[in-house]
Symmetry: C2
Subunit: 518 residues, 2 copies
């Protein structure tokens, strides 16, 4: 037996399973940023989307396939000609593409969703894999709800898919029902019973409904799985997917036990996690393993004492191994463009010359106001720029006059294609509510606020505030984001950003998406 | 073999391991609310605190021991006379008390922290357990960092502790280093090698540094462990502890596999999780298993189609089993005191007659402003009341005049023991920053804002906003919270609440706490 650790393929589905979960939708530019960050992180395969799901999904997979280099680019397709053809159309410009075809196999899915018998399932799977194989060599097949599929039938489907040309067979625990020992037995059965199993990589895709996605993935790896499907911050449908940062750091920290390695550049874990949080506005909880704010915080006194004497008393990983830095104080008013470009790159952003100039102009204004410009300030500036590209309405001016308890008076001036529209109103629950109502009146767009947040992204009284908002416009959900050192302005910008997305027709009605979770 | 499922004891350490983590500190009244909610949830043992750690910890354990009925009340002590005596002093009024004594046993802890050899450790453990046993029968002993302790030595320590009178032996994975199969082998070894193991309940206490706390706990249960130590929302040092809601629902959903049961009243899981979030201000992430906002959200189209045909296609738990309700619309302006009391109780609060009257008065004011009063509104009103009890400074009036881009002018009037102090200032980054600075000037208390958040707790434009803030005053961290339909007012109240905590001497310097993590 070799003493070399076995390399496990990391398949990231942040842009597919993650992106389709409520609160995580991204626009094209945001998806491209995430894809590039995943390359920098060292992800082997990027599942970029589900091309047939919507024109936006198609365009994102196509752009990523055309421009992102350094990882395999994968697109999802149901097991039918139309889906597979559309997936290939999106993927064909990638030098290293994979088509991922899926079909449900469990009894409950066969009966209630597909209304197909076992033979029909196998025939359909074989047809699908063969059609995909006509386009490219790298084919992944997933029997959806595999963890609840009868072992004999699962083995038969997997064998047929490999015979038809699948180079990876992915075993999804679609509903998050597996336990580590149960999932181990599923993988062991396949390894023992499927005669051609050595011709494909066995992959796992675990959901976290019972809090076991990471453990189930590791259990499968212990029994021979060679690929893990996971997402940054564990985002994904319902309770999400296996968290990339947790499963990678578990294999690394316990390499004595798992004897595996990955290609992941672990000091990029925290920056990539923060990039995704900045883009989606979806925070990780403070005690999130690996990337949460408390993950390396030792508050207890005895611990701190122990820590001083010997770090490993209470520390199994070093914060710097996952990309926490001791200080994030970086820039000031005398910092130049090159320094800013450096920090932006370290934070996971890839700016073109023109974009850098725009951000640098904003940076100079900010540095005049603030003595110290932190990494989070820089990230906020970049995010702010990423969010204004599509805006039809821009905030030109606003004024607030509020006496606590009484109805406030606010004035708002918006710019719409060079024309300025102003309105002054009195009423509403406080200044923010009044500002939102006035923007609705000017734009003629009426929405219901589903979620509203403001938080400081940096420290100190001159911190930048970031606001995220989620609005419902006739059943269509749109998010908005705004950043400013003035939190009232940040909130106003966020609301206006959401209105702009409504106007642009962004944010899809949930029901229209033909998405699925593998 | 019996076909009856085995009952596993649920030991909740939200008020001890959870409370000592950054961002989770609670005052006495808040701890009493949580303790009562844990009783309602059906927790078997409540670890209420670490009495010697601080006067606040002592008082909390004593009050919970005196007033909370229905669960065993436990207090933590290091393995020395002073700690154990102090723990008993706090616990003695509880009809059902447990003393929890701990001592580190791993080589690295023996060498670097304790500077004791193996024999000294065993002697100290025996002494500690015997002293505790002199006070009460129910004694738990924890060999700290057990998961990294040599199996032979761990067995010897456990045997000695049981001989000395320990009725529960708890095996902590203090640094979150274990894997499910490794932890199973630790438990199996104890079960096989410790001759008197049948005279004690074997417990586990897992940390989540590698995302494996729930899986490790379940693995131990599979091999005979009879108690799980866990916390609501998985809070706790660093990446937190085993999440109560996840481990309980995993055992319940997969009772076919684990053959275990608990006393937990699962529809109380979501209300208890929300109570803790409301009290600490520490949000769970949206995709948190069981209690996150997305945990039961099925966005994908195919899924929704499948769901319509047969619920179990994609649903392994029903939302109502964990306490999600289909609608939380409950009250309006015509609702009476009894209806409010009912909702408060359903949300996990226990209000005295006087408290109820105060909240009812606020409710009436709110119901005049809002058509629909949601559960979250009611919770916010109660939290608001819980946070003002200690306030020396109260907000009497404020006025804001801000023109976007320019420096705002604000006036604040505070009430201090009946005296009114006012000040008007111009300057700052937006109205909120100006309000905070003006409050600092009036009170003479200067702080650095470490974290600031506002979020809507209910839906719609007339939603209540909740603001939480964390400030640093000469190295001491204080939190503040404020609630209002006006988000600017909510933020101002939160800042003032934090200032009041600074003035009251609340919030401890991190270094002073002699806390430890088991």
């Amino acid at each position: 037996m070799s003493t070399e650790p076995r390399r496990v393929v990391i398949f990231d589905t942040t842009l597919r399973d993650g992106e389709q979960s409520p609160g995580c939708s991204m626009n094209l530019e945001e998806k491209l940023e995430v894809a590039q960050a995943l390359v920098d992180l060292g992800v082997d395969v990027i599942e970029a989307g589900f091309p047939i799901a919507s024109p936006g999904d198609f365009e994102a997979v196509r752009e990523i396939a055309r421009t992102v280099r350094g990882s395999t680019i994968c697109g999802l397709a149901r097991c039918n000609e139309k889906d597979i053809d559309r997936a290939w159309e999106a993927l064909k410009d990638a030098p290293d593409a994979r088509i991922h075809v899926f079909l449900a196999t469990s009894a409950i899915h066969r009966e209630f969703k597909l209304r197909m018998d076992k033979d029909e399932i196998i025939a359909r799977a074989v047809e699908g894999v063969k059609r995909a194989k006509g386009y490219c060599d790298n084919i992944e097949f997933s029997p959806e709800d595999a963890a609840r599929t009868e072992p004999d039938f699962l083995s038969a489907v997997v064998e047929a898919a490999i015979d038809a040309g699948a180079t990876t067979v992915n075993i999804p625990d679609t509903v998050g029902y597996a336990t580590p020992s149960h999932f181990a037995s599923v993988i062991k059965t396949l390894m023992n019973r499927v005669p051609n199993i050595d011709r494909a990589v066995v992959s796992v895709h675990c959901h976290n409904d019972l809090g076991l996605a990471v453990a189930n993935s590791l259990s499968a790896v212990e029994h021979g799985a060679g690929q893990i499907e996971c997402t940054i911050n564990g985002i994904g449908e319902r309770a999400g997917n296996c968290s990339l940062e947790e499963v990678v750091m578990a294999m690394r920290t316990r390499s004595d036990y798992y004897h595996t390695t990955t290609r992941i550049n672990t000091p990029r874990l925290v920056p990539t996690s923060r990039l995704l949080t900045n883009i989606t506005g979806m925070q990780v909880q403070r005690n999130k393993a690996i990337v949460g704010r408390n993950a390396f915080a030792h508050e207890a006194g005895i611990h701190q004492d122990g820590m001083l004497k010997e770090r490993t008393t209470y520390e199994i990983m070093r914060p710097e191994d996952v990309g926490f830095t001791h200080t994030d104080l970086v820039l000031g008013k005398h910092s130049g463009r090159a320094a800013l470009a450096d920090r932006a790159k370290a934070l996971g952003y890839h700016l073109t010359g023109e974009q850098l100039q725009e951000v640098f102009d904003e940076f100079k204004k900010l540095a005049d106001k603030k003595k110290e410009v932190y990494d989070a300030d820089v990230a906020a500036l970049i995010e702010k720029r990423m969010n204004v590209v599509e805006d039809q309405w821009r905030l030109a001016a606003f004024e607030v006059h509020a006496v606590g308890g009484a109805e406030p008076t606010v004035s708002v001036t918006l710019d719409h294609g060079g024309e300025q529209l102003s309105r002054t109103t009195t009423g509403g629950d406080g200044p923010l509510d009044a500002l939102f109502r006035t923007i609705e009146e000017i734009t003629g767009v009426s929405v219901t606020v589903r979620d509203f947040r403001v938080h400081s992204v940096t420290r100190g009284k001159d911190a930048q505030g970031e606001s995220t908002i989620e609005v419902d416009h006739n059943g269509r959900i749109c998010r908005g984001r705004g950043v400013s050192t003035d939190t009232v302005e940040a909130a106003t910008l966020a609301f206006l950003n959401a209105i702009n997305r409504v106007v642009a027709g962004a944010g899809q009605p949930v029901e229209a998406r033909p998405h699925d979770v593998v």
